[in-house]
């Protein structure tokens, strides 16, 4: 309970300035990524034996598509937050830093959107 109380206290403080917000989001997305990552470790080995059609059938099932979408969004978010910290720490030139952050944000946005569209279109039977 001590842990929970500490956690709730830090969530409360996240409602104010941006640094804390980032800190909280990084931890929350990290925690969610643990769950997704472990699930993925269990399912991934099966993929190597799947034919192309088997794989699409597997992805299209709601019980797979849903965790996949949530997991990909979580990990993309966690990745964006992590890369952001690395850029802020190592890119010292202000203009280069802003440019790097923009490129990273755009890349993560495209990456996340692309994967989610791929999963959902498979689940809803869209033929490209």
């Amino acid at each position: 309970m001590k842990l929970t109380a500490r956690f709730l206290k830090s969530v409360k403080s996240a409602l104010s300035p941006t640094g804390t917000q980032h800190w909280i989001e990084q931890r929350l997305s990290g925690l969610l990524s643990i769950a997704f990552g472990i699930w993925f470790l269990f399912v991934a080995p099966g993929f190597s034996g799947y034919s192309h059609e088997d794989l699409l059938l597997w992805i299209g099932k709601p019980q797979h598509a849903l965790p996949l979408v949530i997991g990909v969004l979580t990990i993309t978010w966690h990745s964006w937050l992590g890369v952001q910290v690395v850029i802020e720490d190592y890119v010292h030139d202000k203009q280069m830093r802003h440019l790097s952050l923009r490129i990273s944000w755009l890349s993560h946005e495209i990456l996340g959107t692309f994967i989610v569209v791929m999963i959902l279109s498979t689940a809803f039977g869209v033929v490209w």
Partner: protein, 127 residues
């Protein structure tokens, strides 16, 4: 060495790296490696959905020795980032901050990373 043989100020190239510092750098490096892995996952998945011919080619690349080496690297990165991430969460909760605890947990993370990676790899390859 300075001419008089006196003490030198710590500098990256001559400083004996504390284990905690190495793990901090590894956490970032494995995080970046995993971000790159997400990109490869997107290519693999996108090919599966959009073009089966491309997907077959991606599968051949991932199945090759170099591909398997990369996948092993992502497993290693994942288990390190996971173990060390949990260590970070424990710190965030306010525990294990003492220098000795930080050193011991560093080694524990490294041992867990190797153990989990090789166990997983063995279990998967053994079917």
């Amino acid at each position: 060495m300075s001419k008089e043989g006196g003490p030198l100020s710590p500098h990256l190239t001559i400083y004996r790296w504390p284990i905690t510092m190495i793990l901090s750098i590894l956490h970032r490096a494995t995080g970046l490696a995993l971000s790159f892995g997400l990109l490869v996952f997107a290519i693999w998945l996108g090919a599966a959905v959009l073009d089966s011919v491309v997907h077959d080619k991606v599968k051949v690349v991932l199945g090759s020795t170099i591909g398997q080496l990369f996948i092993f690297g992502w497993c290693l990165s994942f288990f390190f980032h996971l173990s060390n991430g949990i260590r970070h969460l424990i710190w965030d909760a306010g525990y294990m901050f003492e220098k000795r605890q930080a050193n011991v947990s560093s080694w524990f993370v490294l041992v867990m990373t190797v153990f989990l990676t090789f166990s997983y790899w063995f279990l998967v390859k053994a079917g």
